[in-house]
């Protein structure tokens, strides 16, 4: 029997009542004011407002003028453990997730050493069991050391609880190698998540290739670098019937390629990050290294295509690609800075502020896309339903806050939304039945 894929946070099984919250769960069709009772870590009751039966010793939470959503699921975060704990570690990374309303995350393997063996996976799962604030899944590497030349022991890793496999941070350059991984996947299952980029097109690029890179004299990464690889690998996935997920999509050509692959029946899915949904390469004009990420921020045309893809379901989910770095690593000239921005604490508020409030995307759709990552990696979707494990987040859509004004839960402060005024604040996150995060000013009271 294979291990369960999410580990962390031994749940004390909280009892509480959330009264008169606007419950919105597109996965179950809930959209109205209810009382929700959590007992022993499960959703025990969803009742008409003011009618819930309160368990003994339970805490009460006022949900008035607040929204109760299913907890979010992020299939793509970097917890930087082992080896880069000065950037982030399991405790801070999952605390950051909980503060953003996430009830589970999946960690990437580009650590030091690379997560490419069962003993290391086992050790990390032990660490997560001790330190994680929300359950964590791990995706080990597809190839040993992310070198692209030898497969990891995928079957053993799956037995040890691997969610799937990815060489994130790098593409699998060799089509032959990726095809072998896809064929081996028939033995062990587990999604293949792909960072798509052709190194011969990306070159030494540090930002999107276009007018802004021409202006700044920075080497560019063309959109084609991503799109040609997605087209190639979607074709492989279709042929091998291999469950394949494309990470952090950024270019309009990629959205076209993904839609075409799906229409042809390829078992593929895609994700987009809040920064690609909300920012463009114009943000790089300031040479602010927080705007340096891979794939890079692209143009308004790309951004609109990513939004459209998310709206019509070509792109199924929002993933943050939370990529923490230490301050002194980012405090260097743009060309020297490492790529990546944090994102867990700002994802919902940024998307809500930039896309929901202006009426570009409905709130229900955004909530669905923030939870869909679970299904894409073969895990149960967080949902608000009687008998389901309590994975919830309570948000106040009206509060505004300035990103970074009171620091971050993450160890890192390289957030591309720093300084922005955002609407909506996560007040409470319940992950796997336990309180994982509570906003400082937000109090629970006896029922």
């Amino acid at each position: 029997m294979a291990a369960p894929m999410l580990t962390g946070m031994p749940a004390p099984g909280v009892d509480l009542v959330i009264r008169e919250a606007h419950v919105l769960d597109p996965n179950t069709g809930l959209d109205g004011v209810h009382d929700v009772v959590v007992r022993g870590g499960e959703i025990a009751e969803i009742a008409a407002p003011g009618t819930a039966t309160v368990p003994d010793g339970a805490e009460a939470v006022s949900g008035e003028r607040r929204h109760l959503l299913p907890g979010f699921f992020d299939p793509h975060v970097h917890l930087r453990t082992p080896g880069h704990e000065h950037k982030e570690h399991i405790e801070t990374g999952t605390r950051s997730a909980a503060a953003g309303g996430y009830c589970a995350v999946v960690a990437m393997p580009n650590t030091d050493p690379v997560l490419d063996s069962a003993p290391l996976l086992s050790a990390l799962r032990d660490a997560a069991r001790r330190d994680a604030r929300v359950p964590v899944g791990f995706m080990p590497a597809i190839t040993r050391g992310l070198q692209g030349t030898e497969l990891t022991e995928m079957a053993e890793l799956r037995d040890e609880g691997a969610v799937g496999f990815t060489d994130d941070g790098k593409p699998v350059v060799s089509a032959g190698m990726l095809r072998r991984a896809m064929r081996y996947q028939k033995l062990c299952g587990g999604v293949l998540a792909l960072h798509e980029e052709d190194p011969s097109l990306s070159g030494r690029g540090v930002m999107h290739e276009g007018e802004v890179s021409a202006r700044l004299g920075l080497s560019g990464i063309p959109s084609l670098s991503e799109a040609v690889m997605v087209a190639r690998d979607a074709m492989l996935a279709r042929e091998e019937e291999a469950r394949t997920h494309f990470q952090h999509l950024s270019a309009w050509q990629t959205v076209e390629a993904l839609a075409a692959a799906k229409a042809a029946g390829a078992p593929v899915s895609g994700e987009a990050s809040p920064h690609h949904l909300l920012l463009t390469d114009e943000a790089v004009l300031s040479l602010d290294t927080r705007m340096k990420m891979n794939p890079p921020l692209r143009t308004e045309r790309d951004r609109q295509a990513i939004i459209a893809g998310l709206r019509d379901g070509t792109i199924e989910c929002i993933a943050t690609d939370h990529a923490p770095h230490a301050a002194d690593e980012k405090d260097v000239p743009f060309e020297e800075a490492p790529m990546g921005t944090t994102g867990l604490e700002t994802a919902f508020a940024a998307v809500y502020t930039g896309l929901v409030r202006p009426g570009i995307l409905p709130l229900a759709l955004v909530v669905e896309r923030l939870t869909a990552g679970a299904r894409l990696v073969g895990l149960p979707t967080p949902r608000i339903a009687r008998g389901a494990p309590a994975n919830l987040c309570l948000v106040d859509l009206e509060t505004t806050w300035q990103v970074g004004e009171s620091g971050y839960e993450s160890r890192s402060d390289n957030c591309c939304f720093a300084g922005r005024r955002l609407h909506s604040r996560v007040l409470l996150t319940i992950a796997a039945g336990a309180v994982a995060y509570r906003e400082r000013s937000f109090a629970l009271s006896a029922a």
């Binding site: 007018e211 021409a214 700044l216 920075l218 560019g220 040479l287 002194d328 000239p333």
Partner: protein, 312 residues
């Protein structure tokens, strides 16, 4: 009053004209026997050069010394860099010497902008990666102004490796700001996609070079061949060299130096009266004096500006 000179974008047309006028007044001083002004006496200028450039560094050095500033050259290559000291640490350390200005040359785009965030000194970008080299552009404008008068409506062709040229970027911005039409021309592999957004027209052949009033040749580096940007230097020379066969009799020829004779530009052109390459070098000193004056003298005293420089 500007605080730093990081990009030509920091300057509007008025600011550029003010610098040109100031440079012209300094040029008169250079003609006199005692080449020294007391303007920046007792103030420190640091040349922080992470890349070798004897020309640019000595031009800044002479400019600062002519204004009586104390100049220190600091070349971190080999010493502190090898010990792992970051640019930020270096700049903060040097700032403890209370420099009035730091002139920075760095192999990476954006370095000067970062330096300006870490120091109270005025920062002058003396070339950052492929990004910008604003004082070069100002001396180019100054040189052309002297030769042709106002640049409004003039046609300027910049020929060669646009992709890797910070001079080209600053020049496009400065020339267009002064009213000229700029065309960039070179092998398509060396013209960055999106460069039109800076206001330049793109051409891939020299067929219409005769329409230009000014032809600006850029240095072609041999590495571009080994990096496979171009098939061979021979083919480059055949298609893009500025030579007597291609030039009209009244076209002005420029080059940022140092020249590869016989590669991007023919020797006979370098030596012809059409070339203003030596004038560009001379202009470098007075224009950099003017920039230092704008950043340091004007800002500090707040006193009415002297109509002519006072001799020491």
């Amino acid at each position: 009053m500007m605080r730093h000179l990081l990009s030509i974008d920091d300057l509007d047309r008025d600011a550029i004209e003010r610098i040109l006028a100031r440079a012209a007044s300094f040029a008169e001083v250079s003609g006199r026997e005692i080449k020294k002004l007391p303007t920046l006496r007792g103030r420190r200028v640091l040349n922080l050069f992470y890349e070798n450039s004897t020309r640019t560094r000595s031009s800044f050095e002479i400019a600062a010394k002519t204004l009586s500033a104390d100049v220190t050259n600091f070349s971190p290559s080999g010493s502190s860099v090898a010990k792992g000291e970051s640019l930020k640490d270096t700049v903060q350390t040097l700032s403890a010497y209370d420099p009035a200005a730091i002139v920075v040359r760095h192999p990476h785009a954006g370095a000067a902008v970062m330096v300006s965030r870490w120091t109270p000194a005025a920062v002058i970008n003396a070339g950052d990666g492929k990004h910008e080299h604003p004082t070069q552009a100002l001396l180019d404008v100054y040189t052309l102004h002297r030769r042709l008068g106002a640049l409004d409506g003039k046609r300027i062709w910049i020929v060669g490796d646009i992709e890797h040229s910070r001079v080209a970027r600053s020049d496009i911005l400065a020339f267009t700001r002064m009213g000229a039409h700029v065309t960039v021309c070179g092998p398509p592999t060396l013209i960055p996609p999106g460069i039109e957004a800076l206001g330049a027209t793109v051409r891939y052949t020299l067929d219409d070079l005769r329409e230009a009033d000014v032809v600006y040749a850029l240095r072609m580096q041999k590495e571009r061949m080994t990096d496979a940007y171009i098939p061979s230097l021979r083919e480059y020379v055949a298609r893009y060299q500025i030579n007597g066969r291609r030039l009209g009799p009244r076209q002005v020829v420029m080059h940022p130096g140092p020249v590869n004779r016989g590669v991007e530009i023919a020797g006979e052109v370098v030596d012809s009266p059409q070339a203003v390459i030596t004038a560009q070098v001379e202009a470098g000193v007075v224009v950099r004096m003017a920039v230092l004056y704008e950043l340091l003298a004007g800002a500090r005293s707040g006193a009415p500006e002297p109509s002519a420089p006072v001799l020491a």
